[in-house]
């Protein structure tokens, strides 16, 4: 429904956009025993690493191939082999994501061919019967030039490359049906759940509980709930400390259903369902009552199982929260700036309680933007958000920590959401999806407004009493 407008500016001013390699790296950070490797200069990974560390408050095992001026010109093929060998020797990862950058794309590195050659050179021996060899790691190459698309495009490209390159373990044993499941033992309980970048660790946890309550066994890809959720492990590891395991990926062909949650995962869902013949159900987002009800309806129909008591209670709480917060949020003028999927998710939820979206900015175009239930989305930067929020008289600005400076200049309230959040804790709990996650977002938004109004009242009162004192003493 929304009209997509271009900012028309030929400059990045207070950029909202993040690069493709960053989004792609996040997909690999949601896999277990994995490392994402940026095929570029060392700054490519050190800047990205610093940003991710500040957002998650976690060490992040992001690596780089360290392209130099010379390798950029003469070709980085030999260096790539040495780097891949070294990562395997030092970090022993099960999965490596090799992500190109602006440099390696301009210099024209053919990573598909190089990886093919590398596998042939290193792992041909594993095909020889009787030879002792550790299982080779899964190495996935993804083309993610900085100068095309953005973070969401990188996420989508990495997820697609991953689901298209997983070797399925067709000869392995069939999945056990989950215990106590009424869903027939002959059916396939595994559900492949491909998610987009708007889901945080706590979102994944809630949706996993919801799906499991129907006797199903969801496998989330990627699964940031076990890697970047903020947990203290028993010892330090040079790779990711949790996430979707390689063994789980090998068995994704058992899934009878592929669910995609988040528009950014939609194309990967089509790819995976196409490879395995599973049914495909896709959601742009799962924010708000109607969206989550849609998923619950599908799961009820597929399994013949009634929703759990927990799900019913959560739904009733969200319904109540919608009513409670609409008093505060109804008619409030809101400005938002986020990645496409999160923008539509958060905006839809705020629209559901009657908020008025006066400015919405996405860093990059995406098909999901057209479905937003308001008038217009601008493809632009935070400078566009600021100009339009000012013009539209926004009272609440929603977005990353960078957006906080915008709200400070405008003197309005700020709801932290999206990426990066580097000035407060708890990014992995900043939910947007499911019954509980939607409720948390709504209460956070309403509380932000109430806090802001309270502070303004305090200031007004202070100014008022000061002027009375002045008058009294003057009299």
């Amino acid at each position: 429904m929304a009209r997509i407008a271009a900012s028309g500016r030929k400059a990045g001013l207070d950029p909202l956009k993040h690069s493709q390699p960053l989004g792609a790296a996040l997909v690999f950070l949601g896999l277990a025993n994995a490392i994402p490797i940026l095929h570029g200069s060392k700054g490519c990974s050190s800047f990205a690493n610093e940003l991710l560390v500040r957002h998650y408050n976690e060490p992040v095992p992001l690596q780089s191939t360290g392209i130099s001026e010379i390798t950029a010109v003469v070709g980085g093929g030999r260096d790539l082999v040495q780097n891949l060998d070294a990562f395997q020797a030092r970090q022993c990862p099960e999965i490596m994501g090799l992500l190109t950058t602006g440099i390696t794309e301009v210099s024209g590195e053919d990573i598909t061919g190089q990886l093919l050659q590398y596998r042939r050179d290193r792992y041909a021996a594993t095909d020889v019967p009787g030879t002792e060899h550790a299982a080779p790691p899964l190495i996935v190459g993804v083309s993610t030039p900085d100068f095309r698309g953005g973070m969401s495009d990188g996420w989508s490209a990495a997820l697609r490359a991953l689901v298209n390159s997983i070797p399925f373990d067709a000869g392995g044993p069939a999945d056990e049906p989950t215990e106590g499941a009424a869903y027939g033992a002959t059916e396939r309980p595994t559900v492949a759940v491909l998610v987009g970048p708007s889901l945080v660790a706590a979102d994944v946890d809630e949706l996993a509980r919801l799906i499991r309550a129907f006797g199903l066994a969801p496998v989330f890809v990627p699964d940031l709930s076990a890697s970047l959720d903020g947990h203290l492990a028993s010892s330090w590891k040079p790779t990711t400390t949790g996430g979707t395991s390689l063994a789980q990926l090998h068995r994704l062909d058992r899934a009878g259903l592929v669910l995609t949650i988040g528009a950014t995962a939609a194309e990967a869902g089509v790819d995976l369902a196409g490879r395995t013949g599973a049914d495909l159900v896709s959601y742009d987002h799962l924010s708000g009552l109607a969206a989550v009800d849609g998923l619950v309806g599908v799961l009820m129909a597929r399994t013949g199982i009634q929703p759990s008591e927990e799900a019913r209670r959560s739904r009733a709480r969200l319904a109540d929260g919608l009513l409670d917060t609409h008093v505060t949020l109804g008619g409030v003028r809101v400005a938002l700036a986020m990645e496409p999927e999160a923008l539509v998710a958060v905006g839809s939820l705020l629209c559901a309680v009657g908020a008025e979206i006066v400015a919405a900015v996405s860093p990059t175009p995406a098909p999901v933007l057209a479905d937003a239930p308001w008038d217009e989305i601008v493809i632009g930067d935070l400078i566009d958000l600021e100009d339009r929020a000012l013009e539209g008289g926004a009272e609440l600005v929603v977005g990353s920590s960078h957006v906080r400076a915008v709200s400070d200049r405008l003197g309005v309230s700020h709801l932290p959401a999206g990426f990066p959040i580097y000035d407060r804790f708890g990014s992995s709990l900043r939910t947007t999806a499911g019954y509980e996650g939607s409720l948390r977002l709504l209460t956070d938004a309403a509380n932000r407004l109430l806090d802001h109004r309270h502070q303004q009242n305090v200031r007004t009162r202070a100014a008022g009493s000061a002027s009375r004192t002045t008058t009294a003493s003057g009299a």
């Binding site: 400059a11 060392k42 060998d85 970090q91 440099i103 030039p145 100068f147 330090w236 400076a405």
Partner: protein, 457 residues
């Protein structure tokens, strides 16, 4: 494109000379990373980090979104007035720009930024992609300067040239060649001085300024922390320069001496002794028995005031063992500050120490000091284990490695919010170290979960 500024950076006379370097370091101009171990910032990072503290200027990153998008607005430096340096400006190149040439887009970006913000100057940073595409950055900057009437200064420090340190050196060369000496101040005094380095982390400069002011010294420019473009451009009229923990910018100090006759010295504001030495350094260069006497009086008063406070922390911290891992040359200057507190440094290192810095660490810690050369984070925890260290003192990037290993941590780099410089800073360092090491949280997180503790037989 070969740029004359970059070439000058390699020929500057304060550079470590090839014949005094170890074989390993000799080829640092032809930088090549070890496979599988590529950490630390790039040349672009070093260049922009050095210049961004010129806070009233616009800093435009000429490249695709990766370079600016992941880094803007994140630096822990503070300024007293302007916030333009916190804004993110980039030409944000698309595929089309790379094929057809990025000059027009850069020109439009400069024009838009100047139109909106009217900065006194614009710095434009080349990145890997724009260096490879081969646009004539200098020509575009010149045209934009003519068009806008504002100095537009190109910085040729593409990331893949090498280390962060090289970027800082290139930035120093740019200041020397294109900025310093372009503004004539009308308020020159005999006690104007310039500070080089420092970055005004957490307002460290503001700890130092009042002390210098009490001696009658005026900091004409701090390169670079809380700096104004016009002050940096007028730095050639200062009477003395102090290089604060920044070997990468020694070339700048030397250049200011060669071109403008300004004497300089190297020092630090970390620790009581270093701060006192720095004040004496200024007194020596500026001359006069009267200044020297005032300086000694001030030092005596400050040291007397700070002694009981330091003693109380020394009591609590004596015998504690620290691992020090910091950017550039802070290591050797912090060791002395830690010694003031009775803290022993059991291992030290930096990701980009010059041989000179390593020599100095050895001078202070003795020949057996353990030098950390590898930057793999797992090494910190291993070395902490082997040396029975009580605390890791390092940059924020390493914080979570320490915390995951249940090792107390003190942040010494960009993200920190507490100044450790000057006399009060030396006490503050003690306070923060004590707080980190003796925090009750360690007892809580080191205790096992109920299911990890064996049940009594």
């Amino acid at each position: 494109m070969v740029n004359p500024d970059s070439l000058r950076t390699f020929t500057e006379s304060a550079c470590d000379r090839g014949d005094t370097k170890s074989v390993k370091k000799r080829d640092s101009g032809r930088w090549k990373p070890r496979p599988g171990e590529v950490l630390g910032g790039c040349t672009f990072d070093g260049a922009i980090s050095t210049l961004v503290p010129i806070a009233d200027s616009a800093h435009i990153v000429h490249g695709p979104i990766g370079c600016a998008g992941n880094s803007w607005g994140s630096r822990g430096i503070l300024t007293s007035a302007h916030d333009l340096y916190r804004r993110g400006f980039t030409s944000d190149l698309s595929e089309q720009d790379i094929v057809l040439g990025a000059g027009r887009r850069l020109f439009a970006t400069i024009a838009e930024v100047v139109g909106r913000h009217r900065p006194p100057a614009v710095f434009v940073y080349e990145t890997c992609v724009t260096a490879m595409v081969g646009d004539d950055l200098d020509a575009v900057c010149l045209a934009a300067a003519v068009h806008t009437g504002v100095p537009v200064i190109p910085v040729h420090g593409a990331g893949f040239l090498g280390t962060r340190n090289l970027g800082a050196r290139i930035a120093g060369t740019v200041l020397l060649e294109r900025v310093i000496g372009t503004v004539e101040p009308d308020d020159v005094t005999d006690l104007d001085v310039t500070l080089i380095g420092g970055f005004n982390l957490a307002g460290e400069l503001w700890e130092v300024l009042p002390i210098l002011a009490r001696l009658g010294l005026r900091v004409r420019a701090c390169i670079s922390g809380d700096a104004r473009y016009a002050d940096v451009a007028a730095a050639h009229r200062s009477r003395a320069t102090m290089v604060v923990c920044s070997p990468a910018l020694l070339g700048l100090a030397l250049g200011m001496e060669e071109r403008h006759g300004i004497p300089w010295f190297e020092g630090s504001f970390y620790g009581v002794a270093a701060t006192s030495d720095a004040l004496r350094g200024f007194a020596r260069l500026l001359g006069g028995a009267e200044l020297a006497q005032r300086t000694e009086e001030l030092i005596a008063a400050e040291q007397t005031a700070v002694r009981p406070k330091l003693a109380s922390y020394r009591e609590r911290l004596a015998g504690k063992r620290a691992i020090l891992y910091t950017d550039e040359a802070r290591s050797w200057s912090l060791i002395a500050a830690l010694a003031d507190l009775g803290v022993q440094v059991v291992a030290a290192g930096t990701s980009r120490s010059s041989d000179d810095a390593i020599r100095r660490i050895h001078e202070v810690l003795g020949p057996d000091a353990r030098i950390i050369d590898e930057t793999d984070p797992s090494n910190f925890l291993r070395i902490a284990d082997e040396t029975a260290a009580d605390v890791l003192i390092a940059g924020g990037r390493n914080m979570y490695t320490a915390l995951k290993g249940r090792l107390p941590f003190l942040d010494i780099n960009q993200d920190r919010h507490v100044p450790y410089s000057g006399y009060r800073g030396a006490v503050e360092l003690g306070h923060q170290l004590d707080r980190a090491i003796s925090n009750p949280v360690w007892a809580h997180v080191r205790a096992g979960a109920p299911w990890d503790i064996a049940a009594p037989a």
